[in-house]
Symmetry: C2
Amino acid sequence: MSGEELVERFAEIEGVAYVVLYDARGAVVAHTFAGGIPDAQLLPVRRTRAVMDLILADPELSREALQYSTSEGYPPLRAWLADHMGRLGVACGADNVLVTCGSQQALEFLGRLFVTPGDTILTEGPTYLGALQAFAPNEPFYDTTLGEGSNATPEACRELAERTGGRVSLAYLVPDFANPTGRTMSRKARLEHIALARELGVPLIEDAAYTALRYDGDNQPSMLALDIDQCGDIDRSCIIYCGTFSKVISPGMRVGWVVAAAPIIEKLVLIKQASDLNSPLLNQMCIHALAETEYEDLATRARTTYRERRDAMLGALTEHMTGMARWTEPDGGLFVWLTLDDETDASTLLKTALDNYNVAFVPGAGFYPGDGGRNKLRLSFSQSTPVQITEGIARIAAAYRSLQS
Amino acid sequence: MSGEELVERFAEIEGVAYVVLYDARGAVVAHTFAGGIPDAQLLPVRRTRAVMDLILADPELSREALQYSTSEGYPPLRAWLADHMGRLGVACGADNVLVTCGSQQALEFLGRLFVTPGDTILTEGPTYLGALQAFAPNEPFYDTTLGEGSNATPEACRELAERTGGRVSLAYLVPDFANPTGRTMSRKARLEHIALARELGVPLIEDAAYTALRYDGDNQPSMLALDIDQCGDIDRSCIIYCGTFSKVISPGMRVGWVVAAAPIIEKLVLIKQASDLNSPLLNQMCIHALAETEYEDLATRARTTYRERRDAMLGALTEHMTGMARWTEPDGGLFVWLTLDDETDASTLLKTALDNYNVAFVPGAGFYPGDGGRNKLRLSFSQSTPVQITEGIARIAAAYRSLQS
């Protein structure tokens, strides 16, 4: 297929970085660093098959699994998640947990619950564009002054929101190995952002999609855990934690969760009920069985694989692009964030890269609520082997050089 | 457990008629005519187990099933649904189909797409309360002058909407075996309602949740099919058809669909993407395999079972309640709609019925967007055997008599 066709297909999905880049026959493009999705080879297919069979062989469980169920989620899974959060330092009960269809659904519900058209959402620029899409129906403005080293003050945030005729109603952060930058917030920055949210009286979403994927260094405390340390009780916390099984077990099962103060969960349950009644119970039972027996094993296997790929990508960037670009060095997650020279547009580079070098990435502009990111791009290392990564980065470097000559 | 506790638990779920009535130990209450859900004994557990195993044993399908996928839905399922709609007289292609997490999700998306706060939705009173819940976030007003024998005119509808400061933006009907009344609209009424929607220039949702469950008489044409006959092309139709596998295959899999003009589907796909990325692919693959091989068998089995139960309920009503109440005689679906004398409040009857007779139903008031239905109630015959139905109706009659003495 021609580069033109590929660019067109890619432009279509540019705003949707979690989708793999398919060619016209439905095959994945070679050397793609575009999709921020797990490697299909890591999916626990054999164990999923065994667990599904156990559930569907049981006369009672099977009928329960295929019937309508409660909007809150499968009780044993909610209980497991409460324990899991406890292991992350978050003291909570099953009443603080809602099971959702992936954490994307949680973000969409939270936007609906807290944001009125004209309100301002505080976040970083760049940030996860799926969150921007989830919040979009509520027509928010964005204040992107958050992030490590932010000097945002409640007064400045309020003032900016008032200038567009609204108020600050929500804050959104990906503190661990952020999408798209790969950066992690320090404990100090977490505490400052919690204080900011408290002073503004707004809920702060802690999107923990990548938290389980740390390759180096010590875990940073969850913002929800830090806030509970201060306020003494999750039911008084302003932090709303969104988690997912998509990165460690399976994205296709569509099981994510929200952990927050019980009054917030109660409102989200009503939204869930009106929106799709309940998440498929069979999927929740299956994820529960897998989580209970091998969450840590699966997380370890994912970390081992992705650590090697991150190392390959950082090594290849050093080898092929030193002096040509700057990039982040993430301690975890799936992404490296690359900054080109000021003159180069990442969309132009993508066209050349696809046309002449058969390699793909996501241009940076889509991750900004407003302007910005024109000369930046996101590289995902999750779906390629170290050899493919080394070759792919060499191709991007060659494409970049071809633009400069 | 005491009647008080049961009433309290029931009040909680009164607005949610699809939930079974559980007692405090999680057991289903005896003689419940409350939940409008399929009989768990009809769920194709054995076949689901076999199909799941086939998918998860396949090296390629299994990895695809557990990965992220496209927001539109599994292509073979979309194609099957286009064919299925063709068999119902609706000429359409896969581009006219979106797969959703049950038809509840379709209703919620459509409310979001078409309704702005202050708008008026045209519907019947009573109507499916899950639809009222799905539309509620968009803060609509309701004009309930639709239905068989309606004399609604475009002028009258417009005028009513203007009185509340808005405009008519959507119409919603359950033309086959409606929830809660069990009534079916005639061909003449369908044509009149299509003409009304066209004159008003608003989309009309045809909620076909129960269409496959006809026990007597000939199928009525789908409103979408009638509209295509007139306008010549689904892409010019104002009818939006919502279907579900929940009543024939399995509610727990959460697979429903929307069929409409391609430009509407394109907008719904963007909403789907922002809301939960995609429906679980494994579930879609499984439903597709079951639909392809045994949709008709499963529908026939459901019809045979429910026909017998409907007959038992109508027989028991004639035996025990003639002269005390009036009721509908549905040709299909899951519900009979009962009207008590003008003085009796169905909520009062429910309390007595639970307290002293261990039998449950749903009071009618919840199915009305505004006032109404105080002396009406919905009886579902889907989850009880003929013997249980006969006994349960006798108990309701006894409870009713105890109020009158």
